[in-house]
Amino acid sequence: MPELMNPHRRQLSLAGLSALAATTLLLVGCGKKEVPAAPAAATAPASAPAAKPEPLKAAWVYVGPVGDAGWTYAHDQGRKAVEAEFGDKIKTTFVEKVPEGADAERVIRDLAAQGNKIIFATSFGFMEPMLKVAAEFPDVKFEHATGYKTAPNMRVYDARFYHDAYVSGILAGGMTKTNTIGFVGSFPIPEVLRNINAFTLGAQSVNPKVKTKVVWINTWFDPPKEGDAAQSLINGGADVLLQNTDSTAVLQAAEKNGKFAFGWDSDMSAIAPKAHLASNMVYWGPYYKKAVKEVMDGTWKGDTRTIWGKPEGANDVIKINEAVPEAIRKKAEEAAAAIKAGTRDPFDGPIVDSTGKERLAKDAKPDQAFKDKVDFYVKGVEGKIPAGK
């Protein structure tokens, strides 16, 4: 029917144009910097005759946005330190907000195909995707953060966050008036359990009556949920909070309620001047510089696991609030110095778990295997660990 043809065709072309416009805006707006989102765009590196040495290409894969002011921000600071150190001998790239899983595999493969000689993946969930891609690119070096699987061209690096958590625990134990401290947890994996336990042990070292309440939100990053969880801990009586999640929401909730909390992964002192007790920092720069130097010198070796903590300058607790009494501050600084010197470990015996079972005898020193397999709460932490990781 002729009179229906025209309006439909006009509608179709208008719709087609708007769909095209929307898709273009989508691709532009997805925030992936320097790496095109469409796989078709990635090509092998051009083999241009190099008169002078080409800069080494290094890439970082982030699970969150650089602007999270937390986990990913800290990694990006490390990347920037590498850029500052090596200048035009290095060319860095990063891809942010990569979901753990099949997408990660595609992104890592793209980066390897584009000529990056060393790739850092900064979240536990990138382990399997990276392992797969490592098998396909034997000449590329792969570094995985916080994992445990390695290969001849892939290795693991990690930091000792529990060093920081212990020192924060001391501050918390000294500042709590209700003898209840709170922890907003992401997932019940050993890394997070270590932090909860270290936090509790630190607090108990200055205040044996302290109890810890834990709320799990089953995500690394969801600011409204983190705030809700913090609020429920505060409602339940906790007056000092620590979190293992990636935003400033818990600190902000504490500020709103007149309680205390900590920065995690980055300096959050400016966000909540009254509530902020200290910031638990992680510095990835020193390790990234070392790794890149090894690739440049040809001394890089895979199949290893490197964990740095306070002694190597990878972790530190900074910007301790002025309101903390001198005695507590001194205890915290003593503990930090002892951990840094290697004479004290937050998990020095005796360790009793929340069911009463002794996990480590008095005066015993914990080895790495013990710390890797932390699947219990220490005495003083309330509740049970949710089953499954």
């Binding site: 509608q11 208008l14 719709a15 708007s18 769909a19 929307a22 805006l25 989508l26 532009v28 707006g29 997805c30 925030g31 946005p65 602007g67 999270d68 002011a69 921000y73 907000k97 709170g182 019940p188 309440k213 834990v214 709320v215 799990w216 939100i217 089953n218 990053f221 969801d222 600011p223 409204p224 949920k225 705030g227 809700d228 969880a229 609020q231 429920s232 801990l233 409602n235 339940g236 906790a238 935003s247 400033t248 929401a249 902000q252 500020e255 709103k256 400016a270 966000i271 309330e382 509740g383 049970k384 949710p386 089953a387 499954g388």
Partner: protein, 306 residues
Amino acid sequence: MNEFALLIAATLLAGTPLALAGLGLLINERAGVLNLGAEGMMLVAAVAGFAVALSTGSDLLAFAAGAAAGALLAAVFGLLVIWLNTNQYATGLALSLFGYGFSAFVGVGVVGKKLADRTAFEVPGLAQLPWLGDALFKQHPMVYATMAIAVGMAAFFYKSRTGLVLRAVGESPESAHALGYPVRRVRFLAVLAGGALCGVAGAFLSVVYAPLWVEGLTAGRGWIALALTTFATWRPIRLLLGAYLFGGVTMLQFQLQGMGVEVPSQWLAMLPYIATIVVLALISRNAAFIRINMPASLGKPFHPSH
């Protein structure tokens, strides 16, 4: 006992963005338009509201900016769906995706910024009541405004002529058209109004609830609001209560964890969604009940030339 009062307070706060977005979608759906783009509108409005709050320090301007952003996006949706008769579901989904990416893109400059401290809000006099004060009267004005909006919307739908016309358009646009009502204009206005409310919900999240901007801030609340309209069988007061139920169970599961209740947190995290499904199932036992309440032309395009 005070913990329970605080739980109620947290419920009211948590339910407000859901209720606002749900009410906005309700206006859309009552006019027969299904807007799946709630999430996208909320996100764009959240970043707009946050940016305005950052530069002016005024909540009101932030909400206005959010409403404007939501309405703008809804206008694009309305043009496509009402005048070009594109498929409502596909267009709504496209809007959601677009809103997510666009808000992330323009919001890069305000990530990690902090808004000025706000004084705690209290209803003068009533806030001092021993238990009720903590539970009900220490909320941000928008929480109370949302309740008023729900009541106002119910009055609008069932007691006013314009509301009747809107409902008629939603039930049978052909009949309304035959009677001479401007069906497409009514639907477009409904879409605009709905978009504005979703926008206010988004701005509330970023300016009052969180308060910060980071991409993906709404974390699926737009989709929950969509479910709430069906859950509430398209009635405003029921939608408000449904939003509080959802928000309340969400806060409850954190409370239960904090109290050391020995149920795995993953089960507790499912609780709000299970609660919603259970109530939906109970309501749906009577299929006729749903059919009677659902706007008959929901999701169907309208051609005045027929």
